[in-house]
């Protein structure tokens, strides 16, 4: 395995190439490439069933790829699984929690399993609890904690051994808005010293915390770029316009900077525009023509719209 084509960038924590996974005749993941660097939060975005979880299972050594290579900090995961796994922290979709153990007992088990040397264990547990806001519940049974706290215990387990790469599979599912905000702040913080891969199907979540995004669809990566590019990709491109006395659709499409116009729900029109300046021109045109404008706002882009655009 000496010829393994490891990326020579020293800060690369996870490097995967040509990753493929087939289940019988069904191909869940098709030759995807992935690279994660220290200090980065990578968003893994896709609808349910896109292959996100399968990819994460492969990256954490829980599932062997049908083809492809994975290196964790330059260590080949398939050839030297134990050495590579020590550098990863993983929170699966369902947190692997033992309900009958207390938080302290559970975290002690987690750091032992991840081979944290004995003198450092107590510190590691204390730090993980502080970061995840678990200091007050150390002696409580995990089974008695609320869903939000259980999720935090799951994250604490994944970061207690200070892994180089943290892999979180839908960490905010089923949490209330306050908990989501806390967890997002925590992930942002983790992105500083470690590197994080985070899967989600919520576009705004990726925009809020990720530096880079890879969008998966039907097992393939359909988009991979910085978060700014994604924002530019969809914001300022579509606006919703509401008119009391609308003209013909074709008249809207001929407004300056507008490439197309179509009726959306609630009497609104969806306009595709070139840039932010067009909005001003549209507002002026509406007032001049006395169309009775009551709504002009950038459209909330949904993941589906992005997919439609990307896969078109």
């Amino acid at each position: 395995m000496s010829s393994f084509p490891v990326s020579n960038h020293p800060a690369t924590t996870i490097y995967a190439r040509g990753l493929t996974r087939r289940f019988g005749a069904h191909t869940a993941v098709k030759t995807i490439d992935l690279e994660l660097r220290r200090g980065e939060v990578l968003g893994f975005l896709g609808p349910n069933g896109a292959g996100k979880t399968t990819t994460m299972q492969m990256l954490t050594g829980n599932l062997a790829p049908t083809a492809g290579e994975i290196a964790i900090c330059g260590v080949d995961l398939l050839a030297r699984p134990t050495a590579a796994k020590a550098k990863i922290g993983y929170l699966p979709e369902t947190p692997p929690l033992y309900r009958d153990l207390t938080v302290d007992e559970y975290l002690r088990l987690a750091v032992k399993l991840h081979r944290v040397p004995k003198p450092h264990r107590r510190d590691a547990i204390r730090r993980a609890k502080e970061r995840c806001g678990l200091v007050d519940v150390g002696r409580k049974l995990i089974g008695t904690l609320s869903k939000g706290y259980q999720q935090r215990v799951g994250i604490a387990q994944a970061i207690a051994h200070e892994p180089d790469a943290v892999i979180l599979d839908e960490p905010t599912v089923g949490l209330d808005p306050n908990q989501i905000r806390d967890i997002r702040a925590l992930i942002r913080e983790l992105g500083g010293a470690h590197s994080v891969i985070l899967s989600t199907h919520i576009l705004s979540e990726v925009e809020a915390i990720c530096d880079r995004v890879q969008i998966m669809h039907h097992g393939a990566i359909v988009y991979s770029d910085g978060i700014a590019a994604l924002k530019a990709f969809h914001t300022g491109r579509t606006i919703l316009l509401g008119l009391r006395r609308p003209p013909q659709d074709s008249a809207l499409a001929q407004l300056p900077g507008v490439s197309s116009a179509e009726k959306a729900q609630n009497g609104l029109y969806r306009l595709q525009i070139a840039g932010d300046e067009s909005a001003e021109a549209i507002a002026q045109a509406c007032i001049q023509n006395n169309w009775g404008m009551f709504h002009l706002a950038p459209a909330q882009t949904h993941l589906e719209d992005v997919f439609v655009n990307l896969t078109r």
Partner: protein, 256 residues
């Protein structure tokens, strides 16, 4: 790492009511069997004295007690074994172990060790009963030691089989029942098949079949006879099913 996992298994076991109920029930049944045997022994004792070389209390009371324990283990071990893998996979907690820098062999050995340590506790409690007679009579400590060893070997074999069945399914009840059915089948068929083959003069197949008949391997030790072949067969059975378990779980990772 094996010990960390074994300790976790034991802790989880004692955190659930199952361990305590099993300990209590086994102790109750073994206690009844022991006292009943002891009572019978005291009644026939006057006649035994007239024999030239009379069997002692160890042979007449303690040996049957351990045989009863072996039968009870056949019911108990699959029940404990279902937790080890099937239930962990069902609760999706197995991922904590499989994502950690621990090999599948270490995971399985840790779980096996945890289970065997718990079973050793049951055996220790059962052994304590005859030892209580030490003050009032002379015990055959050699026989007691060989009985203990024999039951532990059976327990280890049962544990390995139950772990394997537990690895085959994510339904704990299926694992428990499957484990029990497999053990019963091995006990019944293993005996019969071995005898049948030997009667036809097929000694090699008979010797192989003996690996899968745990009670047959217990027999010599139950009489205080340290039969190395029987011991080897017991160990082989244990190793065989541990290897199967590791291979099966590793295969799941490969095939998904």
């Amino acid at each position: 790492m094996i010990f960390t996992i074994a300790a976790k298994e034991l802790k989880a076991l004692f955190a659930s009511p199952l361990a305590w109920i099993v300990l209590a029930a086994v102790q109750l049944i073994a206690g009844y069997a022991f006292l009943k045997r002891l009572d019978d022994f005291l009644q026939v004792q006057p006649q035994l004295v007239q024999l030239a070389s009379p069997p002692g209390v160890t042979e007449l009371v303690v040996a049957p007690l351990f045989a009863t324990t072996a039968i009870m283990l056949m019911f108990v071990v699959p029940l404990l074994g279902m937790r080890s893998i099937a239930e962990e996979r069902r609760n999706q907690t197995m991922v904590l172990l499989t994502s950690a820098p621990v090999s599948m062999t270490q995971i399985v050995l840790g779980k096996f060790l945890g289970l065997v340590l718990f079973l050793a506790l049951i055996v220790a409690f059962v052994t304590a009963m005859p030892l209580a007679l030490a003050a009032s009579t002379t015990l055959d400590y050699g026989l007691i030691a060989s009985l203990c060893g024999g039951v532990l070997l059976i327990a280890a074999g049962f544990a390995a089989v139950s772990l394997y069945i537990s690895a085959l399914t994510t339904y704990p009840m299926v694992a428990a029942f499957g484990g029990f059915a497999t053990l019963l089948l091995m006990v019944l068929m293993g005996e019969a098949a071995g005898d049948g083959l030997r009667a036809r003069g097929w000694h090699l197949p008979a010797a192989l079949v003996q690996v899968f008949s745990p009670l047959k391997n217990f027999e010599p030790l139950g009489k205080g006879l340290v039969d190395t072949y029987a011991i080897a067969c017991s160990l082989l059975l244990t190793v065989f099913f541990i290897v199967l378990t590791v291979r099966h779980l590793d295969g799941r990772r490969l095939r998904g």
